[in-house]
Amino acid sequence: MEQNKEMTAQESLKLISETLNNSRKSILRNHAKYYVLWGSLLTIFSLVIYLLWHSTGKASWNLLWFAMPVFGYLFAWLLSKKDAALPESFVGNLTGKVWALFGLFSVVLSAIAVFIVPMPITFTIILLLGLAESITGVILKNWPVIVCGLIVGIGGAVAATLLKTEAQLLLFTFGGIILAATGLIVKLQYK
């Protein structure tokens, strides 16, 4: 890129538009890997806990859920070390805060449900998961992500009231697959 190149008004506007667009694409493309990470973890944890619960009949395997944030944040930290050169953006910060709040709500509500006041936790968390995903879609202006969030949130909440015991865990498997797919959609869209 030359510093003294004479530009017409059209060339200048084209440069501004292309630069902004390329920057946005590279930031959002990078965020996609975190959706794939958390979606994969959710799928793996839900399947493992489902199989353990199903084979032993013990609901206490659900305590393994509390290990998921530990693994998730460790892997996310390792992935973020490669992001050193990427800038902080409003969109990136906003989506990050939405998912951090989802994580906080999920962990605290799960802890309350297990140790203090029993509540329909699958219903609550699947609804929050769908809501967080739809809000992400609104921020990214991405219809497939909004629709995926609606399917997970509303479909999951309805299914959670119909399914009993360990079968409810398969809803999280479904939610995890959709979350990972969201990451792939974002990655492909901003390729």
Binding site: M1, N4, K5, I16, T19, A84, E88
Partner: protein
Amino acid sequence: MFPKLDPLLHSELRLAVMSLLAGVDSADFTFLKNQTGATSGNLSVQIDKLCSAGYLSVEKGFKGKMPCTTCRITPAGLEAFNQYVQALKEYLK
């Protein structure tokens, strides 16, 4: 009568830097270099010029053990950038 274009922004590399920074909170030198394809020396000189005009603020620090230069557009820089875009639109009317 056409509005005058800010000569500081009417340069390909400086305009690209300002456009990049207008869309983010802050960006480090490596990102700006990768996105613009400029050489380190050239980019450094242009960032200094934008800093001297009060359009950018620069913070030097470390990320781990690596030195890191973080650039941020100032309110004056954003105002100048918006005026520049408005002036360009006048030219194209």
